[in-house]
């Protein structure tokens, strides 16, 4: 967002997220939008052999932000973020779920298949399954 498209796109992402999970279930982290912090997965950091410890230290800022929301799910917009935040969740023991937005869109539309639920927690892994099977 900060790098290219600006806050307008960040607002569109929030519109989609709120439409999918319900306004009352959305918690923004602080700070947010263009003031937000990078998770530390970008710029090649995840692939930077020999810098794993530094990467996690960098990511602690993001982990603390996520923990402060008290949310049980964190939505990540790209693969690097997903891998990094997933790792932070386990490494720092927060154990919040880390999901792609497409998972929640498909779930909310009642069309998320059984094998497509790898990153959902126990509370949602059965949700709506009946409607998509024979």
């Amino acid at each position: 967002m900060r790098k290219t498209f600006g806050d307008d796109v960040a607002k569109e992402m929030r519109f989609v997220t709120k439409s999918v999970v319900g306004e009352e279930n959305f918690i923004d982290m602080q700070p947010n939008m263009s003031n937000n912090f990078c998770c530390g997965g970008g710029g090649g950091f995840l692939q930077a052999t020999g810098y794993g410890e530094q990467r996690r230290q960098y990511g602690k800022v993001k982990n603390d932000q996520i923990m402060a929301t008290g949310a049980t799910y964190c939505i990540t917009p790209c693969h690097n973020c997903h891998s990094q935040v997933h790792d932070l969740s386990e490494h720092f023991g927060g154990h919040y779920q880390v999901v792609h937005l497409w998972t929640l869109i498909a779930l909310s539309l009642g069309m998320l298949g059984e094998n497509e639920r790898e990153y959902l927690g126990e509370d949602l892994c059965e949700c709506g399954l009946g409607s998509i099977e024979e």
Binding site: G43, Q54, G113
Partner: protein
Amino acid sequence: MAEAALKIGGGPRQTTFMDKVMEVLPEGGNLNLCLTCGACSSGCPATGLEGMDPRKFLRMAALGLDEEITKTGWVWCCTQCRRCVHACPMNIDIPRLVYNCRAAWPREERPKGIRGSCDAALNTEGNSAMGANSEDFQFVVEDVLEEVREDQPQFKDMQVPINKHGAMYFLNQNSREPVTEPDEMVPLWKILHTAGADWTYGTIGWAAENYCMFLSDDEAWEKIVRAKAKAVDDLGCEYWLNTE
């Protein structure tokens, strides 16, 4: 443009690494306008790593400590997230200085994982950083699709076009899914199917990732971007969708 006030060592002013970087950046990246306020460092998650922070890094560059700034491993800890630029009152582009310092490392000494990902992309027609070849990609896509069509009647007619000429959208795919968790491709297919989108994958330049940029290997980066753009043009697609 202001002259840097002080160079370590004194004597006649010599061209520093920062001077050279300024020549290639628009507005010189404003690199010589620093007020030393520290706003960049106070909001940078990489502050303190490798004993460095963005302000210190820039000050060292301004002082002509070329050896130090082109050798510190900190350049691999800055994710080039641009939060410092956003916060800086003088709009100073530290991440571009970082980018150029990465490029000053001998290629074979840059982090192996990033270099390997760039090289794998250069060596596959799909530009896959995981080295996945296009036949395997196509096979996995078709295999997963068949299973979804059989098991989920709601999607028995779903298509996942590959190399469809004239499709509206050419969609890139991160290698991670076909290689390690193919079922994760399905939700996106379903969304596109439900939205009635006219889209296609391609067997050329299909991979979404490009680590050559993170490696600061401009030539390789350009080569991959051009190969991918050409793949979109060759299929006559109107939009190139990159999910990264």
